[in-house]
């Protein structure tokens, strides 16, 4: 079975998925049924240097910039509703081809127009993030998974987890840090500005 992490936990990807070079970061969620506007959750990725900031705007990989770091990071596009089986959104990372000055790959999910629609992650259930081998996707013994639980309430953006370099290898950390200000509040933490 894939390794299951709890909040704050971390694991070496070399141990969780030996031999993995093409990592797939999958995110999933199930918006609870409401009578209001439909949910639209978006996954995005920030590529951070050792300063803890992005190197440029191009290091923010999201629905309007689907590739980063010369193609080593690929956002696979938007699933608007979160309905259906499997991951709702995926990001592919060619671990061996990520630039040496990228130290962390932070994975974020946010709710579009959350304030206008009165939505937050308290209305989202079964959120998870998992990392598995894109070249061996059906091997359930490899990979790592983090189920975020039901802690979120008023947050409109969540850092689900991150891949990071540590001593020459890639590791994954389960984070689940919430932000009430939506995606804008997250990316400004990492050196980006919305406007």
């Amino acid at each position: 079975m894939a390794v299951s992490l709890s909040k704050g936990g971390n694991i070496s990807l070399a141990k969780a998925a030996p031999g993995m070079t093409n990592a797939v970061v999958g995110l999933g969620w199930d918006p609870r049924t409401t009578d209001g506007a439909p949910f639209d959750l978006d996954a995005s990725v920030l590529l951070l240097a050792d300063t803890g900031k992005v190197r440029s705007d191009a290091d923010f990989v999201f629905y309007n910039n689907l590739t980063g770091d010369n193609g080593s990071v690929q956002h696979m596009g938007d699933n608007r509703t979160g309905e259906g089986e499997g991951d709702d959104e995926e990001v592919h990372v060619a671990l061996n081809q990520v630039s040496a000055d990228v130290q962390r790959i932070v994975v974020v999910a946010s709710i579009d127009q959350a304030d206008a629609r009165g939505q937050n992650f308290g209305q989202v259930a079964d959120a998870y993030i998992r990392v598995y081998d894109g070249d061996d996707p059906h091997n359930t013994d490899k990979g790592v998974r983090f189920d975020l639980g039901e802690d979120a309430s008023t947050e409109t953006a969540l850092i689900f987890g991150e891949l990071y370099r540590n001593g020459g290898e890639w590791k994954f950390r389960a984070i689940a840090q919430g932000f009430a200000g939506g995606l804008a509040s997250v990316i400004t933490q990492f050196g980006l500005q919305v406007g």
Partner: protein
């Protein structure tokens, strides 16, 4: 080469109507257009000479002196060659106050940032490494996804909270990918009596659909259930979260007085980050509609141009003049939406 742009002939006809209007420093290209293979191929440069290069899928938004890899009769240049924009294409986000970051909420927070200051400067300028005017190489990732290289659009940008008057000499502003993708782009008109004019948008989606939104006619489009464009009596808005689904748009004004007289005032376009673009709304008689601004999505970035168009027309004429010919009409003032 598989297609020809349908939004180009009007430009030729507009030049024919007023040949003297051709920019002295930017002569109009020859009448025969070079076929284009992609609707995203857009030449915003001031062409120094027509280039009959057969086609290219690349995009040239280079400075006027740069040779165009793909000739296009679409001339979106300023009437005279604009000076180098003071802001350049490199977005200096560090010189403005950042939006106040929200405090990470407590409930689920593992605070990783106690030792970090919120982003306040630097490090966010857009990396635009491709040489100006160079064709865009297509890179293929290890997993087979093609990607266009970054271009230097060579166009003025705008910072958060900055106000920019779009003059006839500098009518174009290119937003960054984030500015083009966050929140809404809202257009309003500031006039003494707001009831005398309404704004509308005619648009083309990335899958080629053309339609428009106009108060009292069609207020949301293209899909009213998940609209990208909205029009109300107070203005129009584009949901930038859906920007991947937008190809281009035209902002126009329709006077509501029976005399079809437009009041004088100002058109403002604001972004999520508080940037504000302004263009004059010139008072005078119209034939029913007046084009104000156009916007194209170029590699995820919105390029907005104040048209300063001296001509008005019926709404149908305006739409056709700007290349929106896939719309049916009840009469010259009323589209079938």
């Amino acid at each position: 080469m598989s297609g020809t742009r349908t939004d180009l002939p009007y430009l030729r006809s507009r030049r024919l109507r007023r040949p003297a209007d051709a920019a002295p420093a930017a002569p109009a290209p020859a009448a025969a257009p070079a076929p284009q293979t992609s609707a995203s191929s857009l030449d915003l440069s001031a062409p120094s000479a027509p280039d009959p290069a057969p086609s290219s899928s690349s995009l040239d938004l280079s400075a006027p002196s740069a040779p165009a890899p793909s000739s296009s009769p679409l001339d979106l240049s300023a009437p005279v060659s604009p000076e180098a924009p003071s802001t350049g294409s490199s977005l200096d986000l560090g010189s403005t106050d950042p939006a106040a970051p929200s405090t990470p909420s407590g409930g689920t927070s593992l605070n990783l940032f106690d030792d970090e200051e919120p982003a306040s400067s630097g490090g966010t300028s857009l990396s635009l490494d491709a040489p100006s005017g160079a064709p865009a190489p297509v890179r293929t990732s290890p997993r087979g996804h093609a990607r266009l290289a970054e271009h230097d659009l060579g166009l003025p940008s705008i910072r958060a909270d900055e106000r920019r008057l779009m003059t006839e000499h500098e009518p174009v502003v290119a937003l960054t990918r984030m500015q083009s993708a966050a929140g809404a782009l809202e257009a309003k008109v500031a006039v003494p009596n707001p009831s005398e004019v309404v704004l509308g948008l005619v648009f083309e989606t990335s899958d080629g659909r053309q339609s428009l939104v106009l108060p009292g006619l069609s207020q949301q489009g293209p899909d009213p259930r998940r609209p990208i464009f909205r029009a109300t009596s107070s203005g129009v808005a584009v949901n930038l979260r859906r920007i991947p689904g937008v190809h281009r748009l035209l902002l126009f004004a329709v006077p509501t007085r029976p005399s079809k007289q437009l009041p004088g005032g100002t058109v403002t376009v604001t972004t999520y980050g508080g940037s504000r673009l302004e263009a004059p709304l010139v008072a005078g008689p119209t034939l029913g509609a007046q084009a104000l601004m156009t916007a194209y999505v170029v590699e995820g970035r919105l390029v907005i141009r104040a048209e300063h168009d001296p001509y008005s027309g019926t709404l149908q004429q305006i739409c056709a003049a700007y290349g929106y010919r896939e719309i049916s009409w009840r009469d010259p003032y009323t589209p079938l939406v």
